[in-house]
């Protein structure tokens, strides 16, 4: 198993059954190898298995064409609906590989724009600092999130990572297919809004 295609060992996590969002969280780069309907867990290992990767309930929303994304130029979109607190960022991070990233460089990621502390707007705060890619400081209380690492807090006051939008690539088309983590202001991500 080359490091390139398989960064994190399944054994290390002691888990062989994972749902989709856990899979994305723990496996990072392997997601790129997945097709739209099935993904291979732990490819190249004894634990390799195909699972149904559809995320129940979340809409499958077309976002953009991969070939049209420019490095480090974010695109805004709404997900999972057009209701309150749904604004999100999609960005190709200039070849910097990220957990949950798609594309051949696994550098395309998407996140909620609402700070999970108290809902501060993170629009316009995408930052390139050498190898690091972050969102923040939040204008309200200065939280900064690491976009390479599933939106984990770098420094700040939020109670959870920035919700990551799960992406799938079909040909050149990027789709949003689910969310990891609860959006600020909602008690569940899929509300009748």
């Amino acid at each position: 198993m080359s490091k390139d295609t398989y960064d994190e060992s399944a054994a290390a996590h002691g888990q062989c059954m994972l749902n989709r969002r856990q899979f994305l969280l723990y496996s990072g780069s392997t997601a790129a190898a997945a097709s739209t309907t099935t993904i291979t867990l732990f490819p190249g290992t004894a634990q390799a298995r195909e699972v149904n990767a559809r995320v129940v309930g979340y809409p499958r929303t077309f976002l953009a064409k991969l070939s049209e994304l420019k490095d480090n130029e974010p695109i805004d979109f709404n997900y999972p609906d057009n209701g309150k607190n749904a604004s999100c960022i999609l960005v190709k991070m200039g070849g910097v590989k990220a957990g949950g990233g798609i594309g051949s460089q696994r550098d395309v990621v998407a996140f909620s724009y609402l700070c999970t502390h108290q809902g501060g707007p993170l629009q316009g705060s995408y930052q390139v600092t050498e190898e690091q890619r972050t969102l923040g400081q939040c204008p309200f209380h200065l939280s900064v999130y690491d976009l390479r690492r599933h939106g984990i807090i770098v420094s700040g006051q939020a109670y959870q990572s920035l919700p990551q939008v799960m992406l799938e690539l079909e040909g050149d088309d990027i789709y949003a297919v689910g969310l990891m983590g609860l959006l600020f202001g909602r008690n569940e991500n899929l509300m009748n809004v």
Binding site: I152, I153, Q157, N189
Partner: protein, 898 residues
Amino acid sequence: MATNYYLPEDKVPLPPKHADVLTTCCDYCIVACAYKVYRWPIGSGDGGVKASENAFGIDFPSSPLQDWVAPAQHNVVMHKDIPHNVIITPNKDATTVNTNGDSSIRGGIIAQKCYNPKTPTRDRLTSPMMRIYGTLQPVPWDFALDVAAEVAKHVIAKHGANAYSVKTYSYQYIENTYAISKFALRHVNTASFTFHDTPSDVTSTPGFRDAGFDNFGPSYDDWGSADVLMCLGTDPYETKTILFTQHIMKGVQKGMKLIMVNPRETAGITYAKKMGGLHLDVYPGSDTVLLGAIARIVVENGWEDKEWIEKWVNNKWESDSGFGQGTRNTPWQWRTTWGKFQTKGFKDYKKWLLSQPEYELAQASEITGVDAEKIQKAAEWIAKPKADGSRVNTSFGIEKGFYWSNNTGNTNAISSLATICGAGGRPGRVVGRFGGHQRGGQRGGKLPRNKSPEKVPGRRRRALDTDRWLVSGHTRMAHVIGTTWIQAMSGSQGLQKRFQELVVTNPHQVRSHDKQEIIETLKRRADSGGMVVIDQDIYLRNPIGAQFADIVFPAATWGEEDFMRANGERRLRLYQKFYDAPGDAKPDWWIIAQLAQRMGFDGFDWKNSNDVAEESSRFSRKGRKAFHMVKVYAHQNGRTLHEQMRLLGADGIQGPTFINDKGELKGAKRLHDTTMTAEQAADLYGENGPGEANIVTKKLTHFNTQTGQINLQKHPWSLFSDFWTWLKPKEDELWLSNGRINEIWQSGFDDVERRPYITQRWPENFVEIHPEDAKARGIESGDYVMMYSERVAAHKDTLLGVQNDHFQFDELMKRGHIELSKAAVTAVAIVTPHVKKGVLYSNMLDTRQPSNALTARVVDHISGNYNYKMGVAKIAKLGASKYKEEFRSMSFAPRNIA
């Protein structure tokens, strides 16, 4: 959540209309933000998304800054033996402290602190335990208490009270600290007593105390209302977050400029710079020189606040004044026996200052590593009068990075600098500590300092150094309450080795079922020169509990009992009980009371925590958080003290408290309030001066000295420079400073290992290293590194100082009292430009990789405190850690991205 892996959830229950709502405050840092607990029985129906359907009374999705529930703010607890949902969110009704219901990452997820066997809190201590045949085994309370009491009585009778050492937290609620100190100081009467953060029971900020400043005089409004605020040894954003985000940041947005003195550039400092502030990146321990240089520029230019100095600084006669025995009995006089600090007032100070070569700009810049230009600028900002001749309002706030590195020198220097700049007792012109943990100490007895065998040169006994006392083999029974003791001190690997020898390798180990035989064995251990350990805590800590404790008492804590405490502006609140303590865990006051009664002490028959609080109130009367009048008021109105505190709710009341002649209960906004008017005073405690039970101490409107004016003191570098120069990195060593980090500050004692999200963010110890230092050593972010030193200095003997310089480091070294030992600590490297070149920064209290092991176990010889923040280490790569390649935990992004 069954693992420490953080799995983001995407839904959460909302509290229903029928939920019980209780107020409490955060358990962690000094700010003590107000929270609400929503509690409702499982299965009784959750709240809905409409305002009419939930306890918040708002529609969901909610808007930014409105109430919301993050999944980590929900938990399930037992209340009266029935499972309940609890949601704990910041109190949006708060009009003080965390105004608008702000919160930090630490307190924000405090719901995770509650005991729930399905979460990583499952290892809470739930029953008393005794080490029998080498294993800690559950035993009933009576059994454990009887054994502890019998052995304790024997140790005290046979080896003296000082052989019974009590090492306790200082902050975990007024009721507990009162009970503990009443037991240890008034009844056992041991001189071997101290708090979690210092080897001996001494003041943390000697310079403040001697100048006459209370540590916590200012109110939170003051910190946001200066023109210039200088913050030393801390980034308040990271370590007292809401003081920063709700008070300091608002000030900055109105034009207040920040000067941050810190070897690191973390988020608050980045923000300060972005808003036009100044960052003075000092080398560890060199602050005295920096402040000396700034003060020198101020006086050279005549920028000092002449009016203030004239009115409020003691001249020669005033500093010598006093009644009866004069100032000789004050700590100030005793520490100044050598004439190293005392001045005859401003002129004398100025003369001294200008004669110190280290404080000349070029040399100061060299020693501190701060650009001369920035030092010059800082002096101008804080003191240069405006064009119209009016003064800028300047405030000064300090914290541990500052006062735990050259404890006496730094605190003297800041007191003097603040004073010449006119800061000290006026709105927006204050000086104080920002604070660490909350202020929950209430003494129930006095340290018998005269029983300490240690004496510093001069005449005064010094408070006993419990670490050295133990290392010297004099401690026969160690009673440890809510602290790791070992990792929390300096040079800790040596201390741990001594515990091992005294406790574990002693031949007298419990190998019996029989109570009497167990008691006899432990007595023999003590008599043979060994040591018996009682540990009282909420979790079994390693090694103090897991390896060394003979008896473990499980403690009940926050949310499991009604408790009182104050914050960093002396604001007192009630922290309400809202769920059942796990298993047989009991609050510390109860444990102490049981033990004390068995040892034959009277006055320990309290029925509940309110009884303890009420007994303790009269001992608070002269203190900064005097709450006695709250009790008087409560009783006037037919309530208990705790009931009154509950009514005071989220905003509580600021100590000291008074009842005015209209019968109203009042609290003081600030101490040393030199601008307090007669009307304001009358509103506090009545037209005709304090009556009834009101006690008004000098510090309300003056300073804590004989005259009520400030002692302007010298701050010679030479008292410290021998140690600093010896310590300074040699060859390929780097400075090693340590401390905490925003995400775990003041919450590490129970939660860093038990919150999946925080565990994921900081899975193990880290060390920040500047890119150039890293490159020279072939270190990359994510590499495992070894930090090590072959010269960790440890002062090993309990001794008497006779000549003036006997406790001076060079002298101790020459006379063979310093032992150089080795220490090694591993960590994951974070290569980042936010730490100063030449300096490493690491987590101080990771119990698995405690970097305090690398800091010198040599106390500040004037104050008796450790200078924890200063060490040196070499650093070498061990290999790559898994964090280098995976994406799920840690982050290597720098903390100074704006």
